[in-house]
Structures are given as C-alpha cells and as structure tokens.
C-alpha cells in the first residue's frame, strides 16, 4: 500500500547524523546547547550515527573543541565577523546551506529567543518538519525521531514525527535536560566551514545589544517563586529565598508586571525547573505555570485563596496571607536551626 | 513560492469607513438584563431600530438574582419552553427558623407539575439573559457588549442620547431606556433619581453549590424527579438574625442556589458580615443536611432596591424612561421575593410606550406617560402598594416576629408533641400558654392578627 506522496518528501535514506546547534553570544555558550548535546548523545548512539555540533559565530574555535569534549563526534564551525552579533538571516542562511549540503537526519536547536527565531529559516527551505518546545526526545524502532511536547494545557503529551521529510527538526525547552559534562580526553574532528553569507547580503543590522548577567534558575536546588499575590512587594519572598539559600523565580504575571526579570520566569513560556524544593508564594497555579515546575521534588504553596489550583500541585500548603506566613516561616526555620542564620545583607538580586 | 505568478489583490474598491450612528437608532437601551432586553424586544417587534448597550462581556455576565424567574409576561413575548431553564418549581416551602429549630409549611399542588408549571422556573442568569438578548437581536435589535454607558446626553432638559466609556463613545437617539439594574449610576448621575436611602436597599448574597461526589443529589435531597425543582424560603433568627429579610434555597438542574437578602441598614448594625451570616445559615440544622457534600462554585453579592412603592422614582422623563431594578421595582416581604417578573413587565410596558410615542413623533414625558400608567395598573405597582405598609410595621415588631415568635412556635410545637407519660391535655395547655405568652395573651394575638391581616 503506498501513500500519496506529500509535497517536499525526500529519500530519507540519504540523510544521517544528529546535529545540535551550539548557541554562542560574544564568547558565551548558552547552557541549553550543552543540555541538548547531553541528550543527543543518547539519540546518536540509538541510531548508530554521528553526533555533530554546529557552531556559528566569531572566534569560536574553542567552542567547537568544548562541544567535542561534551559529547560531539564532530564539530562544524562557521567562524566569521558576519555572525557576531547574532542575526536571523545570516545564521538561517548558513545553517540552511550546511543542511542542504550535508543532509543531517535530525537537527536539534535550543528553544531560546535565538533558536526559535532562526529555526524556521532552516526548516522552510528544506521543507523540513519542525516541532517546537519539546520536553522529551526519543527514536522509534524505525529510527524516526519522536519529538514530544505538552498539548491541551499540559495534561497530554503529543508525539510528533516526520516520516518523509528531512531533516527532522526540533527546538527544545531550556532546563529540561541535564548539561553534558566536558571530558577533556574526548577526541573529535573539528571542521571549519566557509561562510556562505556576505555582509552585503544581510537584511538586518544590530545597532545595539545590551545584555547583563542572566540568572540561570534552571540550575538551582531551591527556588522561591513569586506571583500575582505579592502585589509588587517581593520583600517577604526575597527574605524567604535568602533564608533557604534559594534562587528567586516568578510566574508570568510577576514578570509581565515588571517585578522580576524575564530570565526568572517559570512556565510554559518561561523556563522549566526541577529543584529539590519549590516554594510558590502568591501564585494561583495556572497550568501554564505548573508545567514549568511540576518536576520539583517538593512543592510548597502559600496563597490566601483556599480554592487556588496550586494546592492541587503542592505537597505542603498554607492558606494564609503571604505577608504573615513568609516572615513567620523564616523566623521558625532560623529558630529551629533548619537553615543558616541571617546574613548581614541578603544576596538575592532582582 | 510562486511569487511572480501572484496577482495583487486590491482593497481600494472596498468602503470600510466608519459610519456615523448618531440618530441611526430610535432608542438606546442601557443594560441587557431582563428589563432591558424585554424593552428592546418589544420595541424591535414594533419596528423600531434599537441599540442595546451592555457593560458585561455578554448579557447576564454581571447579573445576579435569587434564583426563581416568574414568566407570565415573558410567555407572551417569547417561547419560554425553548429558553435555557433549570427546573420548574414543584414545591414551595416556608420555614421559620430559630437558632436550632425549624417550623415549616410546604405546598406542592399537583397542577404545578403540569405546564405551564405556575410560570415559575429556576434559571442561571448568564445563560438566560444571553438567550433573551438574542431574541431581541433576532427581532432586529443591535447589541454591543463590553461598553459601559457613563452619562446621558442632554439638550436642555431633553435626553437625546448616551455617552459611553469608549473612544468616540457618544451616540444620539431620541429615546433612552435606563435598565441599569440596582446600581443605577447613570440615572443618579443625571439626576433622574436620588441615591437610594440606606433603609430602602437590601443586600443579597448568594452561593451556587455543586455536588461533585454524587449523582442525583438534587433529586435525592429535595425529593424531586425529572425537571421538577423546589423553592425553599426561610426567615427568622436562624436565617438572618433580627434583620428584615430571609434566606432561600433553590434547585437548579445540577446545582443549588443558597442565599440571603436583608436590609442594608440591618447589615450595618446587627448583621455586618453577610458572608458570615450566609455561612451560619448554611450550617443551620435545617439547611445543612440539604447541602452536605456540596462544593461552592460561585459566590455573588448585590444590592437590591426594596423601598416599595414609595421609593419608585420618577419613571418618565423627556426622552427617557426607567425600568427594572433602576426603577426600584422589587418586592421582598419575606414571603415573596420577586424582581425579575417586575423587570420584564416594566420593560414590556416601557417598550410599548416608546413605540407609541415614536409613532406620534414625540419624545416628551407626557407622550411617554402611558408607561407609568400601564405600570400602575399592572401587578407591579399594585403589589408594591399592597405591601407598602409591611416594611414599617415589621420594623416596629422585628424582635417579636424574628426572634420571639419563631422560638415560641417551635417551643409550642415541641411541647405539643412531647412524648412523655403526661396526658396530652397537659401538653396542649402548656403549648398554648407558651405561644400566648410570646404574643401577649389573646389580646396580643388579636392585635397581631389585625396588624398583619394584610400579610397574606
């Protein structure tokens, strides 16, 4: 029985290897790239194929080396001033050209503002399937990539496959996988590729780039997250975070209100975290938020609304005024010696 | 892609400029509640172009009432059977409560089980109001939602349109029907009526509860089947303390509405915490078993105009009329709790009067006076007149009526039916004595009877 061939279908046998995009800005590699490399190592082994790291930037030879140390069999490095700072059109065009030339079976890109920006510029010309925001990856018995992502509010996990189109592309949510540790004894080929993009061909220009230290809440063992219930006053939550030696995080509402930087947002459109302890302060518990923290070992909720959904997703809950509960909790934890005594100055930054 | 082959699509020939809707409509109705939609429907059926302006996301979104809709007038205007109804009222029960006693009377006439079911149904306002507004739209009215009327437009004393909270938000029309509900900020702001005096306003709180763990909870608890439902009214100390008002429990299809309504002036003094009073009512030994295992899914509160006939404002102005709760048309005397049927009746008469005036090309108050006259000879004002005196009288006798009498009746009943070894003569004698003592002897009883002869 044959299926009517879809537009853009290709001979899938001509495609092989797993590619991971390594995202670099001004010499700094985004952690999600190492997370992807870690996960993709397993996929490459299941398929019996190579794991290839794609590095695009300027002065990025050492990144290629680090990618090999962290699990890549090979690294392709496109090194040119046209690639720094990042722009969608040169990255998209370079990557697309490499894909067309080398025929990877699978391409994985971190779901950052960069990855989600240019992935489509690769997928469209290749008529490739692109699944966005995945939280799980696997290969089936036929060697097909199974890209899994939450659907319908998070209580369903949809598996997306591309039977006849290549490459099979996916963007992956930061913080879901664990970063691969570098092994300095690992060896692999690092190949410099020619840039196919010229500055004259570009259609955009970065006039200014202002980036500070970004918080990485995905690595934290303990998190105190603030929500709408804090009503702009983060004092109690910060103190609690300080006492618990926890990282501060936030719901979408708190970020939209401007109380906390977006890098600390937990949830469907933010980060996925899996700390040992997650304390939700003044957070209602909308599914889009819960999706980002449901893998926490222990969840504590403080909210004055007994019907708030967060209590369904918490191990311990207090129905009460966070402005009373948080300080009281800090006091009790310190009294009982369950946490360290107060520092002279709290360290938690906005 | 085949970019070169694509023909350009030109939008130049399309006219999408914004028309001017000033005086495009004959009438603007402020509020798509029961009074507003009924007025709109009536006017539309009489060939008028009507604009209904509703502040909620959809009609009924912001509307609250006790729970039972009486439909005789609606039945003349729409097909009530195809409306979203919950249950028809097959039983009316009246309970007198002390803190731990209940004495009740229940009525379940067989004829209520047959259509038209005494024109008494429980409804959910979100569903019902939306349906009724749709009927007005079907008849030709225009409905715009999420738009709040903030003021009236005037030329001299004549009302010539409305102002809303939207940009470019004024629209002129010869007639304005004010159906804003109890919180009638526009009518008050435009000096068409005074702010309600505290003693003329009641506070109503209501919860809707569901029974998550049980199928057929309503049928079992209230002993009904099919579409039949029940209306339970309570008054006395165990319901709202010594406040003037009472409690209610109504059955919807698979939820129960439980609530209280009592005078705002009492709220300030004896029952300052409506939510707490409602919780206490729900825990009363007579009420709690009905609600066991139920979970609250909705909580609402509203103010209810209860000034009676005396507090009805001037209903007719040059270019405008007042209907429904805005016109103070609510009856609450403990036995009867009615507002929605009066809202519909007033909307109907107002709609007719506006259509008549439009026919004659006149917008002055005299031309619209037919509305007031029709309302005065209808059950609306006649019922309010009938119970006018009740409120004052009850104020004077509140302690007797809400505390002492329910206690005396309960004690008398308990005494009368005491099962010990004394003869029934003794029980009857004690019961009678207790009851008479509460009301002040035979003379007192007679006086009470005379004072309240008009109650029923």
């Amino acid at each position: 029985m044959s299926r009517a061939e879809k537009a853009g279908a290709v001979d899938t046998d001509a495609y092989s290897d797993v590619w991971v995009f390594v995202e670099v800005h001004d010499g700094d590699v985004m952690t999600v790239s190492w997370e992807l490399l870690g996960e993709a190592r397993g996929l490459a082994e299941d398929l019996g194929e190579d794991l290839v790291a794609l590095v695009i930037g300027e002065d990025v030879d050492d990144v290629g080396r680090e990618a090999v140390e962290r699990g890549a069999d090979r690294a392709l490095v496109a090194d040119d001033p046209v690639f720094e700072p990042y722009r969608a059109d040169p990255y998209g065009e370079q990557f697309r050209a490499l894909v067309e030339d080398r025929h990877p079976a699978i391409v994985l890109i971190g779901g950052t503002h960069t990855g989600r920006d240019f992935a489509g510029r690769v997928a469209v010309p290749a008529h490739a399937g692109l699944t966005a925001d995945c939280t799980e990856l696997g290969v089936d018995d036929d060697g097909l990539l199974e890209a899994r992502r939450p659907a319908f509010g998070g209580n369903v996990l949809a598996t997306i496959v591309c039977e006849d189109h290549r490459p099979q592309m996916a963007t992956i949510r930061p913080g879901v996988f664990s970063a691969a540790d570098p092994d300095p004894d690992r060896d692999g080929q690092i190949e410099r590729v020619d840039p196919v993009v010229d500055e004259r061909d570009t259609v955009s220009e970065v006039r200014e780039r202002v980036v500070g230290d970004t918080a990485d809440i995905t690595e934290a063992d303990r998190i105190v997250a603030v929500g709408a219930g804090c009503d702009g006053d983060l004092g109690p939550a910060r103190e609690l975070a300080d006492a618990l030696d926890a990282e501060l995080a936030a719901s979408r509402k708190a970020v939209d209100e401007g109380w906390v930087d977006g890098s600390r947002q937990v949830g469907q459109t933010g980060k996925t975290v899996r700390p040992e302890l997650y304390v939700a302060v003044g957070i209602s518990g909308a599914v889009q938020h819960v999706e980002g923290m449901n893998d926490s070992d222990a969840v504590v909720a403080v909210n004055d609304d007994p019907n708030a959904p967060i209590f369904e997703h918490a191990d311990y809950g207090v129905v009460g005024d966070l402005f009373e509960v948080c300080p009281a909790l800090v006091e009790r934890l310190r009294e009982d010696g369950l946490v360290d005594a107060a520092d002279a100055e709290p360290e938690v930054k906005p | 892609m085949t970019a070169d082959a694509t023909d350009r699509i030109s939008l130049a020939d399309r006219d999408t400029a914004t028309p001017d809707y000033d005086d495009a409509f004959d009438a603007v109705v402020v509020g798509a509640g029961l009074a507003g939609s009924t007025a709109a429907l009536t006017m539309a059926k009489n060939g008028l172009d009507v604009l209904i302006v509703e502040r909620g996301r959809f009609p009924g979104a912001k509307n609250v009432f006790g729970g039972v809709l009486y439909t005789p007038t609606l039945r003349e205007l729409v097909d009530v059977e195809s409306a979203p109804l919950e249950r028809y009222i097959a039983e009316r029960r009246f309970g007198m409560l002390t803190d731990d006693d209940e004495t009740a009377v229940s009525l379940s006439p067989g004829e209520w089980h047959e259509p038209p079911h005494n024109d008494s149904y429980t409804v959910r306002r979100g569903a019902f109001d939306e349906w009724l507004a749709d009927r007005a739209v079907d008849a030709g009215a225009t409905l715009v939602c999420r738009t709040t009327v903030t003021d009236l437009l005037r030329e001299g004393d004549r009302i010539v349109g409305v102002e809303t909270d939207r940009p470019d938000g004024t629209v002129r029309a010869p007639y304005v029907v004010l159906a804003e509900g109890g919180n009638s900020l526009v009518s008050e702001g435009a000096d068409l009526k005074d702010r309600e005096r505290r003693e003329n306003v009641a506070v109503g709180v209501k919860e809707v509860l569901e029974f998550p763990e049980r199928d057929h909870a309503i049928e079992d608890r209230f002993r009904v089947s099919g579409d039949a439902g029940a209306s339970y009214h309570y008054f006395g100390e165990g319901a709202v303390g010594d406040a003037f008002g009472g409690g209610f429990v109504y059955t919807n299809e698979d939820t129960v509405s439980v609530g209280l309504a009592y005078r705002l002036s009492d709220a300030a003094t004896s029952q300052p915490d409506p939510e707490g009073t409602l919780d206490a009512f729900k825990s009363h030994p007579a009420v709690a078993p009905l609600l066991r295992g139920a979970r609250t899914v909705e909580y609402t509160a509203k103010t209810i105009p209860e000034g009676g006939a005396e507090a009805i404002p001037q209903l007719v102005h040059d270019g405008a009329v007042l209907v429904g709760d805005t016109a103070g048309l609510v009856l609450n005397n403990g036995l009867h709790l009615e507002g929605t049927n009066m809202a519909v009746e007033s909307g109907f008469h107002a709609g007719k009067a506006v259509a008549d005036a439009a026919d004659r090309g006149r917008t002055d108050a005299d031309a619209l006076a037919g509305y007031r006259e029709a309302l005065e000879s209808s059950f609306v004002v006649r019922n309010l007149d009938r119970y006018e005196w009740l409120i004052e009288r009850v104020q004077e006798d509140r302690q007797l009526l809400f505390e002492e009498l329910p206690r005396a009746v309960a004690d008398a009943g308990s005494e009368y039916f005491r099962m010990d070894r004394a003869p029934k003569d003794d029980h009857a004698e004690t019961a009678k004595r207790e009851l008479l003592q509460a009301v002040g002897g035979y003379t007192g009883a007679a006086k009470l009877a005379v004072r309240y002869r008009n109650l029923l």
Binding site: G8, R121, V124, T159, R209, G212, A314 | T147, P212
Partner: protein
C-alpha cells in the same frame, strides 16, 4: 522610500484560556468548554501595527487563516482600528502544520502587497511561535521577533525594533519588507471606538480569499504539505502530591523538617 505602507496583521482564533475552567478534580484546563476568542498576543500585534500607521501613515489589514467562524476575530481587529480584513479560507488548508500555514499567510501577504507583516509572538493554543519566521523564510524577507517596540524609518525603507533577548535587549534595524513578531504584553491594546465597533460587528464584511485567489495550489497546502504528523497522544499522569494543608507557618516548618526537605 515607502510611502503609504501596507501593514498586514496575522490574527488567529483560539480557545479562551481565561474563561476555561480548571477542572477542580484534575487541576487541568477544560479547553472543550471554552468559547473562541482572539489570540491574546494578537492584540499586541494589532496595537503595534496601528501604532505604525499612527507614526507613518498607510493601511492596516488584518488577515486570518481559518473557518468561516473566524470572522469574529477580524471584526475585533476592524473594531480596534484596522482599515480592512480578509478571511483566508479553503477546505484545502485543513490539517496544516506550521509549514503550509506560514506559506498561506506568506502568499496572502504577497497578494496584498504588504510592506510589513505583523504577528503575535505565539498562539495560546499551539504556542510554537514558528509561523512568523516561517512566513519570512517563504518570502525571503527580513524578520524581527520578540519585539517590544517599533520605530519606522520608512524613508530609508527600514523598520527598527527593540528586541527582547535573554538578559537584556537589542536594537535591530531590518530592511523592508519585514515580518514582525510582537512580544506578548509589551503593547497597550487600544479600546475600540463605539461607532467603529458598531460598524465592525453589524455591517463589516471581510474579503474572503481562497487558496487559488492567493496563488496557491492545493498540493502546496493542508495536510498534504505538512511534514509533521501527530504520532500519538498520551495522558500525562498527574504528579502525585501530598496535598497536605497546614494552618500556620510554624506547622509548615515542622512538616518540612520532618520530610527532610530542610535541616
């Protein structure tokens, strides 16, 4: 030099997340019960487009690829201030994933002579955010995503944007024509004027365009052109939580100590 620009805004009808009940038993959204509304991030897109028109003149046209019921969102767009709107509707579009969806919108943008195509950052129902880059790729246009602010430089055929990036922002200038994806919550959507809203809801009729009318063959769209397929859906087991409620902070501290979470 771009005089009188044509600004096209892509909008979508989605289930209403706000009105969706959270099923108290499972704690999950009950999407089936939700009415259909304009994708909330699209309001930001509409405001951004109308803001461009305020600054640089031109025409704003809203488009949506959807069934006939999607005209509701076009009415909302016109009520807000769009000059016109088009419904791109065709049986052939059924089953489209982001590849043919972005192709369809790209074809519409071309047909309408767009200089700028504005979208919301993502939809609340599929939240892939991949359609705007896909449109730019199909057309070979520049793109600006996660846009928090726009400044037209149409005399130089450019559009400048403030772009949200991890840890900060960028100021990026793109050549026209350009696809813009607007960050959710960064623009203050303007309220619809009363008379405009009345017009949009009672008299306005969107232009209806089929696949053919925007230059597409049936094989290029719909399920036949969708590389991705849903291989399976599995219900996720809700994470088992203790759901222990305590009354005071003190009790909470004790509970946490007992569980070994602290101390």
């Amino acid at each position: 030099m771009t005089d009188d620009p044509t600004i096209v805004v892509g909008v979508k009808q989605v289930p209403d997340d706000d009105e969706v009940r959270i099923d108290p038993d499972t704690g999950h959204l009950d999407r089936a019960s939700a009415p259909a509304v304009l994708n909330p991030p699209d309001r930001d897109a509409l405001e951004a487009a109308l803001g461009l028109r305020d600054a640089a003149g031109g025409t704003v046209v809203a488009v949506t690829m959807g069934p006939p019921t999607a005209t509701d969102v076009l009415e909302e767009a016109v009520a807000m201030g769009c000059d016109d709107a088009a419904l791109i509707t065709d049986r052939a579009f059924a089953g489209s994933d982001t590849w043919p969806t972005s192709l369809t919108l790209a074809a519409a943008a071309e047909s309408l002579g767009a200089d700028v195509f504005v979208c919301g950052e993502e939809t609340t129902d599929s939240s892939t955010g991949q359609v705007p880059p896909g449109i730019a790729a199909h057309l070979g246009w520049a793109q600006l995503t996660y846009v928090e602010g726009l400044e037209p430089e149409f005399d130089d055929d450019r559009l400048v944007a403030r772009r949200d990036v991890e840890g900060g922002y960028e100021i990026v200038a793109a050549d026209l024509p350009v696809v813009v994806a607007v960050a959710y919550g960064e623009f203050e959507p303007r309220p619809a004027g009363l008379h405009r809203k009345l017009y949009a809801e009672t008299e306005f009729e969107p232009l209806e365009l089929s696949a053919d009318e925007i230059g597409l063959d049936d094989e290029e769209v719909g399920i036949d052109a969708s590389p991705t397929e849903v291989g399976g859906m599995e219900t996720v087991e809700p994470v088992e939580r203790e759901r222990e409620t305590v009354d005071t902070a003190e009790e909470l501290a004790d509970a946490l100590a007992d569980a070994g979470v602290v101390g």
